[in-house]
Symmetry: C2
Subunit: 500 residues, 2 copies
């Protein structure tokens, strides 16, 4: 969820200055409308210390009518606060209907920090996250609109930030030893923050992860998202959608990386499709990797560690060939390939996850899913086979499912085979030309191609919302099939050997 | 939740035989309709080992069409099951749309047993319950109808059962040393079962606690509740209410103790209203108790333990007088009485719990709520000020709220002042007669009296669903004001001294 926000999005000073006046005007208007609609708005601004949360909030406060806004910052608990249950301070600060309450630091801060420094155990942490989810759901069901921004800085960007400020005599004071100490805990902090975000990223209270390396992008992205959410919230009230639907409607603003025009970006853009490998290097490396896969799957069988591999990707992305290179290396008694097409009648009579549960491998075995449960948030979303509320809640359902696999000790590896539209076209045409490939191209493939915009958004959201510590996505550069196959084998070898 | 089901409900063999044929016919019909509606039905049957779960299920199975029914029993995990994540066995057993799946033992069994024998910590247990809640919500959102029965036996009944079966040579084999061992763990088992039930008692997946001491009552109660749930579920489908609403509609069957005609009962019936106390005994005992209250609240101040007291009860139940007897004994700097009337404008602009959060005492103080958050599930429910989905979800919200108080170390004591309708009438008339009491009686009081049936149901549900290990209800026998006041003071003294 965090990594996928590291898109290096930037907005030039010029573009910022051009976009700002209209955004401010629109925000004022939307703020006024939501005020009239009597919707309480909870805005959480979180992220690491040096991500510029304070700066951002000052700007937001300047952009809207201060009479409809309350900024709440939470430092160490006061006497008054310590002498009541921990949530008392947050209840006290909730905005009344019609107002916007901005929370700098929030119910997320203490659990994450206590988990990072080890003072809170894993179960207690998860329990606390479940309580947070319950709280936010309760507010949403009561008609509140909830938006949560996480200002993300990559490790590299965070280091750059600290160094830059240390060098400049005017900002040196801002960098304290505590900041450096926090930086050394970066990985732990990122891991537990991400866990918190994933478990509380709900259709009625979404997390919007903003790449905060560039402050112009950061501010515009938050402002624009907030604007869209306020507008949709006010619309929902006008249509008398019912309290519980306001939050869900407001949250239906697409986020992943596409908030600011001129700073468009997508997690797939970061995949370097130009990589090549020579035939000879490929053959040698393939042999080595296949040998490793053979040895490791044998050892996994002895140690009773199972693996679940998920292959997703664009049509003609090369899934079949890649799977074959992998299975060639494994003892046939140890693996199974499960191709996922339209569900059977028996499967349609069950919850959509049922047909994947039934195919889980026994300990020590490998199951390879050729397409998977991600169909729910890809083809079913784009083609309208699943209703918005269905695919929206699927992210949490999928994360819970994969977490159960990980808790059982199963190695979960997920591949997205990415190719450029040009390469896809080339492969489609080749399939039509070459006799024995003809059956592989259908009208549907061409239709899907025309929906590539919608599929791009679906893939972005999918990677952003299901790239979890227990089950990471591997974005495979698949324009060159040989490069793709090596990357796939390497990833499996790395993950499986780490688990043994 | 469990205690309040101990109503000693019995159905005679005659009444059973009279009611059964129609019930079986209706169940067959309802089962057929739900089959046609393509709704999957999940029926969980839980409770202690000797509560007759097996017997009950055999009967249910005989009553409905076996082609539409699947009974799933879960013993120790098989090899196949152990080698997959723990939930695999349950997913495998889920009924397809249109079928009823009965679960004897279920996802509840292992967490409760592991918690009872101490193998699972408190946080891990709660985390597991949250996962269960997530799972059931997921099924309900997908259109499943979920009903969960807990067959309850009081400690006394359980002992009687074991002894009776041991005496009879025909049933002696049924009682094993394991049953007696389980009996010795009764209190722990009851505590953690109740915790599990409370946290997973949702509007879309309700728990129905059935007094299982009498097998005729047990079987009819389950059969009748199931019938009503199936009927409402089928209705919801006919009205095209949407998947998520089917479960909620089916769950809107009132349960607490009033399922079987002829076995009507109510938790309030168990309150002995005939108790009397002489004036002299009252004066002496009152003085002692008030002294204890004075000392204990002083000590609680020093030890920084806060208390929250909730006074609810019938109109003219004697709340005011009781509160005065209590506050007389406490240093005025240490307590506050918060009378709850209609919410202010400021309060209406917030979530309904907000106005109670704001009045929580600091450590060491006592806050007395004269009426409380329970208005949500009493007057607001009966008068229609809150929509069904609002007051239905309030039980979980209230339990979470009170659990946070308990976790903070606050002593929570809740009183329901119960008087008979006749005594209420007498007091109303007295109030009209006696000048200085006249202001205490309004037209509204008379109106409420006419809705006593609906209020009775609301009070039953409230006690059943919010009598939690962290915040128990005390049902006060208030026909005699002196008896009531002593009981109130005694309960507070007992709870507070236990916490110090």
């Amino acid at each position: 969820m965090l990594k996928s926000a590291e898109l290096g999005l930037k907005v030039s000073k010029d573009a910022y200055d051009r976009q700002l006046p209209k955004l401010r005007l629109d925000l004022l208007q939307a703020h006024w409308e939501i005020h009239q609609s009597k919707v309480p708005v909870v805005v959480v601004i979180s992220g690491p210390e040096i991500s510029g949360k304070g700066e951002l909030i000052n700007r937001l406060a300047a952009w809207v009518d201060p009479r409809g806004l309350e900024v709440n910052a939470f430092g160490p608990a006061s006497d008054e606060e310590r002498e009541r249950p921990p949530w008392w301070r947050f209840w006290r600060a909730l905005p009344p209907r019609g107002k916007v309450g901005i929370f700098l630091g929030s119910w997320y801060t203490v659990p994450i920090l206590r988990r990072v420094d080890g003072k809170m155990g894993k179960s207690a942490f998860q329990r606390e996250l479940d309580r947070i989810a319950f709280f936010e759901r309760m507010l949403a069901e009561d008609g509140a609109l909830i938006v949560k921004f996480w200002l993300h800085l990559s490790k590299r960007e965070q280091k750059k930030f600290l160094k830059r400020h240390e060098r400049d005599p005017r900002t040196r004071w801002r960098v304290t030893p505590i900041d450096w100490k926090a930086f050394r805990l970066y990985d732990r902090f990122a891991k537990w923050s991400e866990t918190a975000l994933l478990r509380t990223d709900a259709p009625h209270a979404p997390w919007v992860v903003v790449d905060a390396a560039d402050e112009h992008h950061r501010d515009l992205a938050v402002g624009r998202y907030l604007l869209a959410a306020l507008r949709r919230g006010a619309e929902a009230v006008k249509e008398k959608s019912g309290a519980a639907k306001i939050a869900r409607r407001a949250a239906s603003v697409p986020s992943a990386g596409r908030i600011v025009p001129g700073a468009e970006g997508n997690v797939l853009d970061a995949v370097d499709l130009k990589q090549k490998v020579s035939d000879e290097a490929y053959r040698k490396r393939l042999a080595t990797l296949q040998g490793r896969v053979g040895t490791l799957t044998r050892r996994a069988y002895e140690k009773r560690v199972s693996s679940v591999l998920v292959f997703e990707g664009w049509d003609a992305g090369g899934k079949g060939g890649s799977i074959r290179r992998l299975t060639e290396a494994v003892d046939p008694r140890l693996y199974r390939v499960v191709p996922i097409a339209a569900p059977t009648e028996e499967e349609r009579a069950q919850h959509y996850l049922w047909r994947f549960w039934r195919h889980l491998p026994r300990d020590g075995r490998v199951t390879i899913f050729d397409r998977s449960w991600y169909g729910r948030v890809l083809v079913e979303r784009v083609e309208g086979f699943a209703k918005p509320e269905e695919w929206e809640r699927a992210y949490l359902e999928i994360n819970d499912f994969e977490e159960q696999l990980a808790e059982h000790g199963t190695v979960v590896v997920k591949y997205w085979l990415h190719i450029s539209p040009e390469e896809q076209l080339r492969r489609f045409r080749e399939r039509q030309r070459v006799g024995f490939k003809k059956h592989k191209i259908t009208d549907e493939d061409w239709r899907n191609r025309n929906k590539s915009e919608a599929y791009f958004a679906a893939v972005s959201d999918m990677v952003a919302r299901t790239d979890t510590p227990s089950a990471r996505w591997t974005l495979v550069a698949a324009n060159d099939k040989k490069v793709a196959r090596l990357q796939i084998l390497e990833t499996f070898v790395r993950n499986l050997s780490a688990a043994l």
